[in-house]
């Protein structure tokens, strides 16, 4: 693998960066909203993973028309539309839970919540 290969696959590098970065935020942050944001970034990286695989260089959008021979694969787009819906639902539910947690604990910092429930 030479430099040109590495640079040509820039989309994959972005995917990996978002994936690892998102997961890092989920693990490293104690603020529940920030965790959810990290989770969102992590999920978004997967959208890019799918879409990169579906794109054909020089291919047109998948619309039937005279004179167009090379299309991008439409299936990954459809799948990712579904995945986006799932991601939005997860994010919404997560935020709703954080709101309720804030109401009953008065904080959204994990460390403070744990110390409230387990006062040792």
């Amino acid at each position: 693998m030479n430099w040109q290969d590495l640079i040509e696959h820039y989309n994959q590098w972005i995917t990996i960066f978002l994936m690892v970065g998102g997961l890092y935020i989920v693990i490293a942050r104690g603020n529940m909203i920030k965790k959810l944001v990290g989770l969102g970034i992590f999920q978004t990286s997967v959208y890019l993973l799918y879409l990169s695989a579906g794109k054909i260089l020089g291919g047109s959008p998948p619309i039937l028309e005279e004179g167009i021979e090379v299309y991008s694969n439409p299936l990954p787009h459809v799948l990712i539309l579904t995945a986006i819906v799932v991601g939005v639902a997860t994010f919404a539910l997560g935020l709703a839970l954080v709101v309720r947690i804030n109401e009953s604990y008065g904080t959204i910092e994990e460390a403070e919540i744990f110390s409230q429930d387990d006062p040792h």
Binding site: Y50, T90, L97
Partner: protein, 492 residues
């Protein structure tokens, strides 16, 4: 009518959820949940009958061929899991109303049943679909609704457990979908059957190996394989009693199904267990679960948490059976999936009745409960015997298969470890029995009497199944053995 059964299996509970959400009245929502659950059970029973008679059923959604569209595929393995989930659900929903009314504010009762039916839809969808991405969607349908079910719990820690489960569950599901994406980029299809045909040509590529790792780790998070089980104890402990029974008896079992599908049907046992060190990894983790989680269970003060840790330990037996990758081992794993669902269903149903009468879940507060609620606790003790593996209960059948499979491989040490780990179950079940029967009742326990009839009957129905399938294992073990033969590609 028979032609449309596969889609009805998913549509009936989904439509039920929608209707329950529209009517928004607790009792009406409950009636809808009962109707939808029992109709699902009838459909699953009919599907199993058809599969046993005419072989696997393939259903093309919208008439699109499997290469393009989504295929629902019911083979013996899928039909068994459908029947397991629907029959447990049919019992749970019947015993639910009083416990739900007791633990959930009136205005939210209908929403509880909506989420319950959505969760049922998702679980049935995972078991019936033959499409990798569709399985992800159903995985998220069942997961999102189970986060909501857990958050219904009275204790504020229920919210925290739901949040933690949401984080872990979403990471698991995303890992799964990353794996599916990599497979799709290599094989160009999402149909599990077609993937398994095409994967042989590319199975040694790095993409497929990475995909296997992502999928196994992702599903393992969902099925709470030790040490990915951290979400489970709190989720089970603080969820409403009825939600706990349902999740404990079905959710992790369906994740087991998905793992079995991928390891055996999609990637193939020869590749996964023959060429990769999956057996040793899974066996090591299973043994860690059997001993580690069961030991933690002994020291729990909350009885629901204790049973939750016991679940993590019992999942160890299931994955152990899968890891052995022989016909006997896989039969043991599958039959224990079924058996453990019955055992935990019975145990948590008894706990639900106790919580209904006393409102207590801490073991020290439940002293003498066995004297006050003898019928309820007797069902719990029968389930406990199942956990230990006493002969005459289903637990013994599972362990018999697992020990035989270990000995077949010449791994005597593994056989001894399986038997040895049962002693841990003896300790935590024994602790409950000691507190419940040999201490004088106090406080609200002294005034308690046996649970509401429908809850006691429900617990006993499951407990009776624990004994029946323990004494007459031909049906469950026979079907599990047939399923194992199919999964290992040895004909049938």
């Amino acid at each position: 009518m028979d032609d449309q059964l596969p889609i009805l299996q998913v549509v009936v509970p989904l439509l039920g959820a929608l209707l329950a959400a529209l009517f928004r009245r607790g009792p009406l929502a409950w009636l809808i949940a009962v109707a939808a659950s029992w109709a699902s059970l009838a459909i699953a029973g009919r599907l199993l009958f058809l599969v046993l008679h005419d072989g696997p059923i393939s259903y093309a959604i919208g008439g699109w061929a499997p290469e393009i569209g989504i295929e629902y595929r019911v083979d013996l393995v899928a039909a068994l899991f459908l029947l397991l989930v629907t029959s447990i659900s049919a019992v749970i929903v019947a015993i639910a109303p009083r416990s739900v009314a007791n633990e959930i504010p009136r205005g939210r009762i209908a929403w509880f049943y909506v989420m319950y039916l959505m969760c049922l839809t998702g679980l049935l969808g995972i078991a019936i679909t033959g499409d990798a991405f569709n399985a992800f969607v159903f995985l998220e349908v069942s997961s999102l609704s189970s986060y909501a079910l857990i958050a219904f719990g009275k204790d504020r820690r229920a919210l925290l457990s739901a949040y933690q489960y949401l984080i872990m569950g979403t990471i698991g599901a995303t890992f799964y979908v990353i794996g599916v994406g990599l497979i799709y980029s290599q094989t160009g299809t999402l149909n599990l059957g077609l993937i398994s045909e095409r994967i042989a040509d590319v199975e040694s590529t790095r993409s497929i190996l990475v995909a296997l790792a992502f999928i196994v780790v992702g599903i393992s998070l969902k099925l709470a394989l030790f040490p990915l089980h951290l979400w489970l104890p709190n989720a089970y402990a603080y969820a409403p009693s009825i939600a706990t029974i349902f999740l404990a008896a079905t959710a992790t079992k369906v994740a087991v199904y998905l793992l079995v599908r991928y390891l055996y049907s999609v990637f193939g046992a020869d590749f996964v267990f023959g060429e990769l060190p999956v057996t040793s990894i899974l066996i090591a983790l299973s043994i860690a679960a059997m001993f580690g989680a069961s030991t933690i269970a002994i020291f729990q003060s909350n009885i629901k948490r204790m049973l939750a840790y016991s679940s993590v330990g019992q999942i160890g037996y299931i994955t152990l059976g899968l890891a052995l990758a022989t016909n006997t081992g896989l039969t043991g794993g599958l039959v224990h999936t079924f058996n453990h669902a019955l055992i935990k269903g019975a145990a948590f149903a008894a706990i639900a009745a106790i919580v209904y009468r006393t409102g207590k879940v801490r073991l020290e507060d439940l002293a003498g409960i066995g004297r006050q609620m003898p019928l309820t606790m007797a069902a719990f003790v029968v389930a406990g015997f199942g956990l230990i593996g006493v002969p005459g209960t289903v637990g013994f059948v599972s362990k018999w298969y697992l020990v035989s499979a270990s000995v077949e491989q010449g791994w005597w040490w593994l056989g001894f470890l399986i038997v040895g780990s049962s002693l841990l179950a003896l300790l935590y079940v024994g602790r409950v029995v000691e507190v419940a029967f040999f201490r004088p009742p106090q406080g609200s326990v002294a005034a308690a009497r046996d649970g509401p009839p429908e809850m006691v009957i429900g617990a006993w129905l499951l407990a009776a199944a624990v004994v029946y399938f323990g004494l007459v294992p031909d049906l469950t073990a026979g079907l599990a053995s047939d399923a194992a033969t199919i999964l290992l590609g040895q004909g049938l």
